[in-house]
Amino acid sequence: MSAMEGEASMQQAPIQSELWRGIKGCIPVLLGIVPYALVLGAQAAQKGLSVIEVPLMTGLNFAGGSEFAAIQLWTSPPHIMLIVAITFLVNSRHLLMGAAIAPFLRHLPKRKALPALFAMTDESWALGLSDAKARTEQGMQPAFSLPYYLGTALVFYVAWVGFTTLGAALGPVLGDVEAYGFDMAFPAVFLVLMAGMWKGFAAARPWLVSLVVAALTYLFVPGAWYVAAGAVSGLIAAYVLAGDDA
């Protein structure tokens, strides 16, 4: 009890400055996500989502890669199971991210850690974790600064929901975004995300399998089966290839 009070008072003083440090820390990264959010909103509007449904998706789901994938596959009515399964698969990287950040959250009770994890994005995770590592080197306790992390996440959340909504509102005004080449923003964003995950050619072999199988399925099988076919073939390849290396 006294240890907890001590920790609380130690954290109390810098909470605001820590929050502010987080807000400032992520502003440069915002430049990258604003156009991405606008394009997502505009594309979602073209697929028939309303100016209320778009922030509902980006605000509740709050994971850009999966939202791009969902919108790309969106039909009217939507294939619910396909979209939910793809969302889970695209976001399966969170499993590893959560495992990696877990040791830094030991000082937090679950009632704080679980809500905080809602805001875990590629960006807030990376910023929070690198900050925790820097603070460890400086001997600061706790290494993981919750207010700093929440500050970065807050900015992302407001910007993400705000600019996707703006994109949805502006989408119909802009007309067919494909005519200008904006649809290429999707593969561009995905390829940059994949470049960030790149760990050498050997580790990327399952991606190549996915690409080939998905492309062939797309050419010869009607419907959106190409995503499931490509993803599953890649996972089988990853499983088999991992056995070779082990």
Binding site: V39, L49, I86, T87, A99, M184, A188, M194
Partner: protein
């Protein structure tokens, strides 16, 4: 304005996403993954992303094929914002001039 099926899809998407955010923390924090499970989890997001965009790699017009090649090249060298700008500009111009 609000379609019940759309809302259902969104709520289920959001639940799936929140599960991915907390499962790693709740289940994996005290465990060591096998190399095979780690390889599988590391490969999974890329497999899905590349599958979603695979149709761009087999587009039926030369402008889009050149555009995806330029985009791929940009993505390996530049960060998010410049890559998106290069990709959109190249695609718009190529479609205009080559069709």
């Amino acid at each position: 304005m609000i379609d019940p099926l759309t809302v259902l899809t969104i709520v289920l998407m959001a639940s799936a996403t929140y599960c991915t955010r907390i499962i790693g923390y709740l289940v994996l924090r005290n465990r060591t993954l096998s190399p095979r499970a780690t390889a599988l989890m590391e490969a999974a997001p890329g497999c899905v992303l590349i599958s979603v965009i695979a149709p761009h790699f087999v587009a039926n017009n030369p402008a889009d094929l050149v555009a995806i090649a330029i985009t791929l090249l940009a993505a390996t060298r530049l960060s998010m914002l410049p890559t998106v700008m290069v990709a959109v500009a190249a695609t718009g111009l190529l479609r205009h001039f080559i069709g």
